[in-house]
């Protein structure tokens, strides 16, 4: 795809230059005024419909927030499972309605805490997990039916999903009725975020294993949350964010369909994760357009007949790249606008980056402030009163049609370039997204793309007083001690046999999920299971191209 030279919305420094073109981040030119004629020209109201009905432009439920406000799910986790359990309970006491688990990097890329490469990283950016025992501790005392849990993990997701299901089973829940989500979107990890482990093909095969396993054994569980979010954070524009996400979702679906499952057996459990920073109207149009485009794809390309298979369920949150290090308190205001975008867009779940997050793991106060931001919208601002309140605006409906067309173009361009799997494996998509990030930064540095506090309205500021989250060496040491203790206590022969079975199944190219479930229950560790799979699949070799 060619990268356009863009003058972005709001980019005009001199407001009197009204003749200057305003073009949004997705490359769509914005008019001064919209009328019925513009809407007709863009495709009319054919795709608008009603909430809860195909093509779901206006929302995936009839009553949306009237019936139940969005789930509040702040991204949380640090230190060892005890520390994280304590913070989970703090958030629940403050009105949070779901959990969103952050894992440390060793856990995310399949290393045990006593691995030499984990030095200095244990519990640093998330909770350390080595075995099922850590899951038991982290979720102790939390009602898993009342509070749904989302696991933000990808490379080692198959293992973490198994640990979650095994932990729930052990506590007496019937996993056939258990709800919850895992991020488990490995293709986007190759584009941004980077917690891959295995080569591309094997990685997608593992995702398909988890989808198939959940469809058969935990049909209410969402095994994948496809993330446009991180692709946008890496430099993609809003239309590309959603289009690339859909290409990735289709790649997983194709893999599962090839195993003989029917699309209606699993598509309703696919979920999505998109970003909320940027121009308000462009984002709202993005979500409305995305919902109808996805519904159309699943219905027309995949032949789904159950309307629930066609709905774009999503967490719309974050906004990390929109926040600034400069004047960090301004991020509180940005966060409030981002939450507004998410609510106006009809997201099922919301998570907000905290104002101090450019500096550190958020403090309790910062996390509570993010919760209060969302609670204000629910309780005081009338965001839950009526569904899709921006519907019918000439501007929003026109832009929704244009964004849908733009996303379709991007998806076609991916197909023309050989498909998303090929582009990821060869590094072409990474290179394109990174080139756009470079271009954007140059526009920020030149002032072409305004960023309050960064290139306009700056103040002389010392580094603000931020409460840095301390890195607890003691916690790391305790985590290693407990791992050593676990290795002494467990049934070594059972672990060995379970790992052998895992290797055999991986070699036989059958689904490895049953073997991972069995291994998890013997308290085999994340590192042991990952190493076993690496011995069969090998490791990803990162293509570096500019």
């Amino acid at each position: 795809m060619t990268v356009q030279t863009k003058k972005r919305s709001g980019a005009s420094k001199n407001r009197s230059e009204s003749s200057r073109a305003v073009i949004n981040e997705s490359g769509i030119e914005i008019k001064t005024v919209y009328t019925e004629q513009d809407l007709e020209k863009s495709g009319g109201v054919e795709m608008v419909g009603l909430p809860g009905e195909y093509p779901f432009t206006r929302g995936i439920h009839k009553e949306m927030y009237r019936k139940r406000p969005w789930t509040m799910r702040q991204y949380t986790g640090f230190g060892n499972p005890e520390d994280t359990n304590e913070r989970f309970k703090f958030l629940i006491e403050n009105g949070q309605t779901g959990l969103n688990v952050a894992f440390d990097l060793p856990s995310q890329i399949g290393m045990d805490s006593d691995d030499e490469l984990a030095t200095g990283e244990i519990g640093r950016v998330g909770m350390a997990v080595d075995s099922l025992r850590d899951f038991e501790t982290a979720f102790d005392g939390i009602d898993l039916e009342k509070i749904t849990v989302s696991l933000t993990v990808n490379g080692s997701a198959a293992i973490m999903i198994a640990m979650y299901l095994a932990m729930a089973e052990k506590r007496g829940y019937d996993i056939a009725g258990l709800r919850g989500t895992a991020q488990n979107d490995i293709l986007k990890e190759f584009i941004g975020r980077g917690t891959w482990i295995f080569p591309v093909e094997a990685s997608i095969k593992l995702v398909a294993d988890t989808i198939e396993y959940c469809a058969r054994h935990a049909p209410k569980y969402s095994p994948v949350s496809v993330c446009g979010y991180h692709i946008r954070e890496s430099g993609a524009d809003p239309a590309q964010e959603m289009a690339y996400g859909f290409c990735i979702a289709k790649a997983y679906m194709d893999m599962v369909l090839a195993r003989g499952l029917d699309v209606d057996e699993f598509a309703s459990r696919l979920s999505f994760n998109f970003n909320i920073y940027g121009n308000i109207f462009e984002q709202v149009a993005k979500f409305r357009a995305g919902r109808s485009l996805w519904a159309k794809i699943v219905k027309e390309e995949y032949g789904a007949t159950n309307p629930r298979s066609m709905v774009l369920r999503m967490i719309a949150g974050g906004g990390g790249s929109g926040l600034t290090k400069e004047q960090p308190e301004v991020n509180i205001v940005r966060g409030a606008y981002y939450a507004l975008i998410s609510a106006l867009s009809g997201a099922q779940t919301m998570a907000l980056c905290c104002f101090d997050e450019a500096y550190t793991i958020p403090s309790e106060d910062a996390q509570r402030l993010s919760l209060r931001t969302m609670q204000l919208l629910i309780e005081e601002m009338g965001l839950c009163d009526t569904v899709d309140p921006l519907a019918g605006s000439y501007y929003v409906e026109t832009l929704t049609n244009q964004m849908r067309a733009r996303m379709t173009e991007v998806m076609q361009s991916v197909d023309e370039q050989g498909g998303i799997i090929k582009m990821v494996a060869e590094g072409t998509i990474q290179s394109q997204v990174s080139a756009q990030a470079y271009e954007l930064l140059q526009d920020v540095e030149s002032g072409e793309f305004p960023k309050v506090g960064v290139n306009c309205y700056q103040v002389e500021e010392d580094e603000p007083e931020v409460e840095y989250h301390p890195y607890a060496q003691d916690d790391a040491r305790r985590q290693i001690e407990r791992l050593e203790q676990l290795r002494d206590e467990r049934d070594t022969a059972a672990v060995k046999a379970a790992l052998q079975k895992l290797a055999d199944d991986a070699r036989a190219e059958v689904s490895v999920m049953p073997a991972i479930m069995a291994a998890v229950k013997t308290y085999a560790t994340v590192g042991e299971m990952t190493d076993t799979l690496v011995s069969v699949y090998g490791r990803y070799d990162e293509p570096v191209r500019f």
Partner: protein, 131 residues
């Protein structure tokens, strides 16, 4: 005067996968006319020192966003000394708290470019110090 172009190694230390910044810096340094070698993700200190030695770079640049920079740089320092590379320009960028900047200089970093630094500052710094 040598006509050899300045050679810069950009590395992603530790396990962090956030490479938007590193890749932007690579592009900016290439545009500035340097020869740039980018390691890709997850480089342990031994690997960074090894590549720096093999490629005979003038500058070793790290991009760290997940907070493990202090312990990492301490370990890398020993590797650089062992490889005879402690005379090379050594810089770091990313999520670096102000309170750590002095400690990094004491470890031996020549330049610290926390998030928000302009690309030109990095280019100018290298130009100035690699004359």
């Amino acid at each position: 005067m040598s006509t050899r172009r300045i050679r810069v190694l950009i590395a992603k230390p530790g396990l962090d996968g956030h490479d938007r910044g590193a890749k932007i810096v690579v592009r900016a340094l290439m545009d500035a006319g340097y020869e740039v070698i980018y390691t890709g993700l997850r480089q342990p200190p031994e690997a960074v020192a090894q590549v720096a030695l093999e490629e005979d770079v003038d500058v070793i640049g790290l991009s760290s966003l997940a907070g493990s920079h202090l312990s990492y740089c301490e370990r890398l320092k020993q590797q650089l000394i062992d490889a005879g590379l402690d005379d090379r320009l050594w810089i770091i960028g990313g999520s670096i708290p102000a309170q750590d900047q002095q400690t990094l200089k004491e470890i031996g970093l020549d330049g610290v470019f926390p998030a928000g630094s302009e690309l030109q500052e990095i280019v100018d710094f290298i130009n100035e110090r690699c004359k």
